[in-house]
Amino acid sequence: MRQSYDGVVLCAPFTTAYQRYSIETAHWWIARALKGSLDLAGLRPSEIDGFTVSSFTLFPDTAVGLTQHLGLSPRWLDHIPMGGASGVVALRRATRAVQSGDADIVACVAGDTNHIDSFRLMLSSFSRFASDASYPYGYGGPNANFALLTDRYMQEFGATREDFGKICVAQRQNALSNPGAVMKKPLTLEQYLAAKPISDPIALFDCVMPCAGSEAFLVMSEEEAAKRALPYARISGAIERHNAHAEDPIQLRGGWSVDIDELWDMAGCAPVDMDLVQTYDDYPVISAMQIEDLGFCPKGEAPSFLRDKDMTIKGDFPHNTSGGQLSAGQAGAAGGFIGLVEAIRQVTGQAGPTQVAGASSALVSGFGMINYDRGVCSAAAVITGGAR
């Protein structure tokens, strides 16, 4: 059994309200989230000695350039280019750094800007395999990749558009309680089904809206958090896996399925014990896959499992409580943090308008980087409320 994550906690979750387009840079957005998180904790920038950054639009800078730009002098620094898996990966690395004494307080930040046309330019140079073997095929983004995956998932498991629509409609309902969400209008299943086709079977409301935004949280020892009287969340278990099931012809399962037993063993609990679930949701099919691969139901049964569930904040299966990327917006690498930051708020009772009553345990899962035909990075963590 791996060493536990005991003694280290997550606190000061901060989200900068998302914007569809921004004239600011990634540096600006990252600074906003870092300052927001430090302000929540009552810390000065000089008091953090560890820093992780995730961003797609920071070029030519990395975490290194940001230290000088933002006036930080950490003794532990990491740049985590793992897209939708960045949040949980940052959590895992920062926790180990604090446990080992390499750092005392680590700020984990993700942020991206969204200029007119920056999304298109980012897609064209996303990865070598993408420019060699997917971008030339009409793609302009992962829409068609996920369309192929959704097409196959529907063939294999008999899922319907309505099944995916249910996920999207519930998340929009949740987003209406989140003032920072980009999407502000209600969505009905009829509207979902009648939406403009994007890449069959994917239509408009299956796709995330690229936007600007940033997210941050702090990692420190439990004593440190208690000393500062900060609400915090503990980490019961966490997993990470890259390029799993490479021989599967189409991705119908992710890396979670390799490590799921270890996750729940380590956490000492089971899926039914979760008060809320935050999946990575750039398309609803991938949320369905995470619900299966993380043990809530057998492979291929997410549609029937979810058919009887209410996925809204007040429901019996609260899912992506801030609206997720599908309704809050996809702020680049911050999309890898949105679920985790919201989950920290939830289990520490700080979620305000999106608060799930009595939430104390959450599963957060990340998925990232469509390098060619599938997402390569997967990660998940179980966190629980500590002191409030």
Partner: protein, 418 residues
């Protein structure tokens, strides 16, 4: 089933000509191996020399055993369509203007799963054949065709976007006096070309092919002398805007290397026709053809040079002629680069000795006009950049690809009797 392509309506001069846009061009160096294969119409993938694993997308190291010994080999192109999608919107202008656009995920029998363009007649879970073609950026893309031929399948819009098919296109053949001209005109006509212009130099001089050409439907013989800039400009002014494919078959050929001749007069003639002729044509016809590559069903699509295979490596018996062809080949590479931004394709057709008077002293095998015409039409239909006609041309090219220095020695041995 593919809808048969209708002949395009007459161009309305008041409607804006669509600006050429292109699919993405950027590729890694490894992926250029696929484009090099597509230039010759071959489907090749990297195979690991150590463990045999077939790779895709192209890599620098084997994903099975980390060996860096990966070799491009012609590969079994059969597979099964696992999933498909029809794209209705794209961030890339080229595709945005051409939606709906089908792509799919194919499990190759050879191992890898590929994302590819989909011919309209492919069905989910059906068997497909993959072809490797150059798209309008001049880079390789993979396209799945149904394994059973379907009616009018060549008219599929996605397939046609990758090729230089002569169907419904207007074509200029530059030299009526070349012995291969009538056969080329006939083959293009049979392949569905809508109009064939043929250039004739020194119209007052008799031409043995003229009667046969004039008797053909759709053929229009027009004055053109590729050694005369004014003549080339005049014809380009008249038909440049409706030339969709240009076939430069003008040739001046005399035997002999450097020492077999006492002066440079033949060499100058060879350069005037074979090298400067190409340049004059390109300067007059090139810009207007490059502006019309997105102009509907009969958009301009290809520029063809018919060259001697000894453009690659000299044949001393025709040393000066070889040199002029080497110059023309080099110019064609420049032209290919200059046309790249427009998507206009340059195809070089390399011939061995042809069956005509100037090659009379050489032994067989020789290339017939029919063979040239066949290779040319097939090359256009497959959207090639390089094609070789006849056994000699294929043999010389194989040796050239293997080792150009050995080839040079093989073709220049003086013989022990000297």
């Amino acid at each position: 089933m593919t809808d048969p392509l209708s002949p395009p309506p007459k161009k309305n001069p008041q409607v804006r000509t669509v600006s050429p846009t292109r699919p993405p061009e950027a590729r890694s160096r490894a992926a250029l191996g696929l484009s090099a294969a597509a230039a010759e119409g071959r489907f090749a993938l990297q195979h690991c020399d150590e463990c045999g694993k077939v790779q895709y997308p192209p890599r620098d190291a084997c994903s099975g055993c980390l060996s860096t010994e990966l070799r491009w080999k012609d590969t079994d192109a059969k597979g099964t369509l696992l999933a498909e999608t029809t794209i209705h919107t794209s961030t890339k202008l080229y595709f945005r203007e051409r939606t709906p656009w089908r792509t799919g995920s194919v499990q190759l029998d050879a191992g890898p799963v590929i994302i590819c363009h989909l011919h309209g007649d492919c069905v989910r879970n059906g068997r497909v054949d993959i072809i490797n073609r150059l798209d309008r950026s001049g880079q390789a893309v993979l396209l799945a065709l149904p394994s059973q031929r379907s009616p009018h399948m060549e008219d599929d819009p996605q397939l046609r976007a990758m090729t230089s098919d002569p169907k419904h296109r207007r074509i200029l053949i530059t030299d009526a006096r070349n012995p291969n001209t009538s056969e080329i005109a006939r083959a293009l006509s049979d392949a569905g070309a809508s109009m064939i212009f043929v250039g004739l130099s020194e119209t007052w001089r008799p031409s043995p092919t003229l009667d046969a050409l004039s008797a053909m439907d759709k053929v229009d013989v027009l004055p053109l002398d590729v050694t005369d800039t004014h003549s080339v400009q005049k014809l380009a002014g008249a038909i440049g805007g409706k030339t969709d494919i240009l076939i430069n078959n003008a040739r001046f050929l005399r035997p002999g290397g450097v020492l077999a001749r006492s002066d440079t007069s033949f060499a100058k003639e060879e350069m005037e026709v074979n090298y400067f002729g190409l340049m004059r044509l390109a300067q007059s016809f090139g810009p207007v053809m490059a502006s019309r590559t997105a102009d509907g069903v009969n958009a301009s699509v290809a520029w063809v040079n018919i060259l001697s295979v000894h453009a690659l490596s000299s044949q001393p018996e025709f040393g000066c002629f070889s040199a002029s062809n080497a110059a023309a080949r080099s110019l064609s590479q420049s032209l290919r680069a200059e046309f790249r931004a427009s998507g206009l394709r340059v195809m070089n057709l390399y011939c061995g000795p042809t069956e005509d008077e100037w090659y009379q002293p050489l032994p067989p095998p020789k290339v017939t006009p029919q063979a040239v015409a066949r290779t040319l039409v097939t090359g256009l239909q497959n959207g090639l950049e390089e094609t070789y006609c006849g056994d000699v041309a294929k043999d010389v090219f194989e040796r050239f690809r293997d080792n150009p220095l050995i080839l040079e020695r093989e073709t220049t041995l003086a013989g022990d009797g000297a």
